[in-house]
């Protein structure tokens, strides 16, 4: 197990390195550079070329890439061109908000999606099944921005129950310091973006759970368990669900990665001060160091999380370790 983990950990390096190189190349392909973006319509050609020189943009591409990788190797992500602050500081100030939202949405998706799928599987063919699957269909096909706007108009404007935008105090901080009113405020801010971001995953998970469980319930050992006269609850939870869980864990792991990256739209709609918005803004402004740093960090978080999922997988299913 330890060797497996070590090997997987070592594989992270090429993954992150390729992410760095690919991002670098993609940014070069974008029309417009940071000088143009920052100085804007008012810039004169002399100012532009002076600025490009200042940023090192006039050097050969390979030299730029080499210098960049050398800096990254020393954990130096450079400074933001537009904001003139260290990139790492920017990322660290926005990553927690994104992690909070992504985690909350995965928790909601799992806590609601898996039970709904179970319910649909157990009541297969009934109104409950059809209703749940209809909701799931809606969830996978509804655009995030549309759902977000609808929720804001209903819960913030119409009913005035929840705030329309923004983030409260960091939830974890509020909970740890025991400040209940702050925690409650954080939750109120968190609720709509979480539901918006979770809806797709929730729908996917419920469909997946229903399918996986129905599949497993057809297995011989389930019939045996039933034949032994075991209570239906024991059959479903102890025998069937554990095996049905394998594909679900994998999907949840991937979904967390998607939630990190896919939070961009949700963050924009709800004015959530996360990393997704930072990256989108940085791309718009051609703030290369920020985009590069953020992609690297995201790639790292994503890879680490997948590693965690794989390890969990290996833990649940001993066959994985020996491949």
């Amino acid at each position: 197990m330890a060797r497996y983990a070590a090997r997987r950990l070592a594989l992270l390096l090429p993954v992150v390195l390729s992410a760095a190189v690919v991002t670098f190349a993609l940014l070069l392909l974008l029309p417009g550079d940071p000088a143009v973006a920052l100085l804007g319509q008012e810039a004169s050609p002399e100012e532009l070329s002076r600025f490009r020189h200042l940023l090192g943009l006039d050097r050969p591409v390979l030299v730029q890439l080499g210098l960049y990788l050398w800096r990254v190797a020393r954990a130096d992500f450079g400074r933001s061109i537009t904001l003139d602050v260290p990139v790492l500081r920017l990322i660290l100030s926005t990553l927690p908000a994104t992690l909070e939202l992504a985690t909350a949405s995965i928790v909601v998706a799992v806590l609601a999606g898996i039970p709904l799928g179970l319910l649909a599987a157990r009541r297969r063919g009934t109104v409950v099944d059809t209703g749940t699957m209809l909701l799931a269909q809606l969830g996978v096909s509804m655009p995030v921005f549309w759902l977000g706007v609808l929720l804001i108009l209903l819960f913030a404007v119409r009913l005035n129950w929840l705030p329309s935008f923004g983030r409260g105090a960091p939830l974890l901080e509020a909970l740890l310091s025991g400040d209940l009113s702050a925690a409650l405020d954080s939750l109120r801010h968190l609720l709509l973006p979480t539901v918006t971001l979770a809806f797709f995953n929730l729908a996917l998970l419920s469909r997946l759970t229903r399918w996986a469980l129905l599949e497993v319930l057809e297995e011989d050992y389930v019939r045996t368990a039933r034949a032994k006269g075991q209570h239906e609850r024991v059959v479903v939870f102890r025998h069937a669900l554990r095996n049905a869980l394998l594909p679900i864990v994998t999907i949840v792991g991937l979904q967390f990665g998607n939630a990190l990256g896919g939070a961009v739209v949700t963050e924009t709609i709800y004015g959530w001060p996360g990393m997704g918005r930072l990256v989108v803004q940085a791309i718009g402004q051609r703030d290369f160091p920020v985009v590069q740093g953020a992609v690297l960090i995201l790639a790292l978080v994503f890879s680490l999380f997948n590693l965690l999922v794989d390890l969990t997988y290996a833990f649940i299913d001993p066959r994985i370790r020996y491949e």
Partner: protein, 516 residues
């Protein structure tokens, strides 16, 4: 499976209790005004500000030598008076006993420092170009600043609203000054949470007197619809352009909101590249102008939020604006006649005009950030196509478009100008053959002479005559086809009192604003 239902109950209970609770946090004395804005500020250093949010926050924290009133006339601010010693020398007398937020007194040295650093290329001040005619800034004494110009430059006074920074604070804070600004303005900086909010509090020692508000919070809400919804929900008290036309329509029917619409300081226009062999032909430019359904665009796409433009003269330039100058109007027959006159005919019957075996192809470019412009561009493409022009649309992000403009690599671009406080700002660099933003390579000796003359004339009648003539020539030569005068829309909660919207988008009147 009652077990599942049982498990859902606590979740429901949490949702219900959340819904029943109310926002926390007490408002400080004097009331809090919450403003919803679209982008985060890039910097809070007035010398470096390049986005509208930065300017809105900065004008609360800093004062300029002058400030522009709603009619865009310079009024005394940190300078209590000024005199034009000679055509190229201006002298500003500073108000006595003004202090920065850190308690240090304002001196002529701070003004000299502010302008000297802006003129220094090393600072990378985005508006440096506006101040280039200044050759020397010096302190005659502790309260007198003297500007020497290379040539008479009438617009200087309007650009003297640049926020004055404290030299000591800048030198103390270094690069951090942009995040911890120290000025003399009505509100002082408290905190800035990136992409979330900027908090200011009243400056009790403000030289005009203590502001009525205790606190001003700028909430950054990038989505136009969410920003409008936040105002309707009462989560913010004030929002302003850019807003989506459909949201403005909804806001107008909201009982707790007052909507104020006026013509702003921006234009949306087609930039026609005269260096392009096709566009160089005036008949082509006129034909394009005749094909544009200006009123339909204003009605259907902008829902009357923007107004149809008649020339490059903005309605906000009082005394200079006139609606008597007009560009070619919507007239498809005339357009077709002009194309035929230029030799473009459909000789092979394929629906596309051609000349000497060459098809009439045209590329229109715009940027992706503004959905209204994308919609207009799509409409124009379909109209051009149905008129026998092989039209192509190219949409990139704004930096990509600016790149194309700067390199001259385009035919026609749909884009805009903002913050045109003065005709010089709206025309000199755009149409002077030596202008830094004359990407379309327009060159007309008469226009050059007029624009040079306009810079030197301070007399309002003279300026009106000069700029009207330029506008008349531009409307005929069509390096620009000005599509709309951009609207400026403000949505204000009815509980807010004393706020006066200004076409420039300035929040200067926050000093007199109050909330119960």
């Amino acid at each position: 499976m009652t077990g599942f239902r049982m498990r859902l109950l606590p979740v429901l209970a949490v949702v219900v209790s959340l819904a029943a609770s109310f926002p926390v946090g007490a408002a400080p004395a004097g009331g809090t005004l919450r403003i919803g804005i679209d982008v985060d500020a890039g910097t809070l250093d007035p010398r470096l500000a390049n986005d509208t949010t930065a300017r809105r926050v900065i004008e609360q924290v800093f004062d300029g030598l002058v400030e522009l009133d709603p009619q865009l006339r310079p009024q005394p601010a940190l300078a209590e008076s000024w005199t034009q010693v000679s055509p190229t020398v201006w002298q500003f007398r500073l108000r006595p006993n003004v202090r920065f937020h850190d308690g240090t007194p304002l001196t002529a040295g701070d003004v000299v420092f502010t302008y000297t650093t802006i003129l220094d290329p090393a600072l990378r001040a985005p508006l440096r170009g506006l101040y280039l005619p200044i050759t020397k800034v010096e302190a005659a004494d502790d309260r007198t600043v003297r500007f020497t110009l290379s040539a008479p430059y009438a617009p200087l006074l309007k650009y003297a609203d640049m926020g004055i920074v404290s030299r000591a604070a800048v030198e103390r804070a270094g690069g951090e000054f942009a995040m911890k600004p120290v000025g003399t303005g009505p509100y002082r900086f408290v905190s800035w949470q990136r992409n979330s909010r900027i908090v200011l509090e009243a400056n009790p020692d403000y030289w005009k007197g203590r502001p009525k508000l205790g606190q001003v919070i700028f909430h950054i809400i990038p989505d136009n619809t969410t920003r409008a919804a936040a105002l309707e929900a009462g989560d913010v008290d004030l929002i302003h352009s850019p807003l989506s036309p459909q949201d403005v329509a909804r806001l107008k029917s909201s009982p707790r909101v007052r909507v104020v619409e006026m013509t702003g300081l921006g234009i949306t226009y087609l930039n026609m590249n005269l260096a392009d062999p096709l566009i160089r032909d005036l008949r082509i430019r006129r034909a394009i102008a005749h094909l544009i359904p200006q009123r339909t665009i204003v009605r259907q796409i902008y829902r009357e939020m923007d107004r149809p433009a008649t020339s490059v003269l903005l309605p906000a330039w009082s005394g200079i604006y006139t609606d008597e100058i007009t560009q070619p109007g919507h007239d498809i027959t005339r357009a077709k006649a002009l194309l035929a006159e230029a030799g473009w005919r459909d000789t092979n019957g394929d629906g596309v005009l051609d000349r000497g075996g060459q098809r009439l192809a045209l590329t229109l470019r715009t940027h992706s950030e503004d959905p209204n412009r994308v919609q207009i561009a799509e409409l124009l493409i379909s109209i051009l196509r149905s008129s026998g022009i092989e039209a192509r649309l190219e949409i990139t992000e704004f930096p990509g478009l600016v790149q194309a403009l700067l390199s001259g690599n385009y035919q026609v671009v749909l884009v805009g100008w903002l913050g045109l406080v003065d005709p010089d700002r709206g025309m000199y660099n755009q149409f002077h053959s030596k202008g830094s933003q004359n990407w379309e390579k327009y060159s007309n000796p008469r226009v050059d002479a007029l624009l040079d003359e306009g810079r030197q004339k301070a007399d309002p009648n003279e300026r009106a005559r000069i700029y009207r003539e330029v506008a008349r020539i531009i409307a005929a030569d069509l390096p620009y086809y000005v599509l709309t005068y951009q609207g400026y829309v403000v949505g204000i909660s009815r509980r807010v009192e004393g706020f006066t919207p200004i076409p420039s988008g300035s929040f200067r009147s926050l000093w007199t604003t109050s909330v119960p």
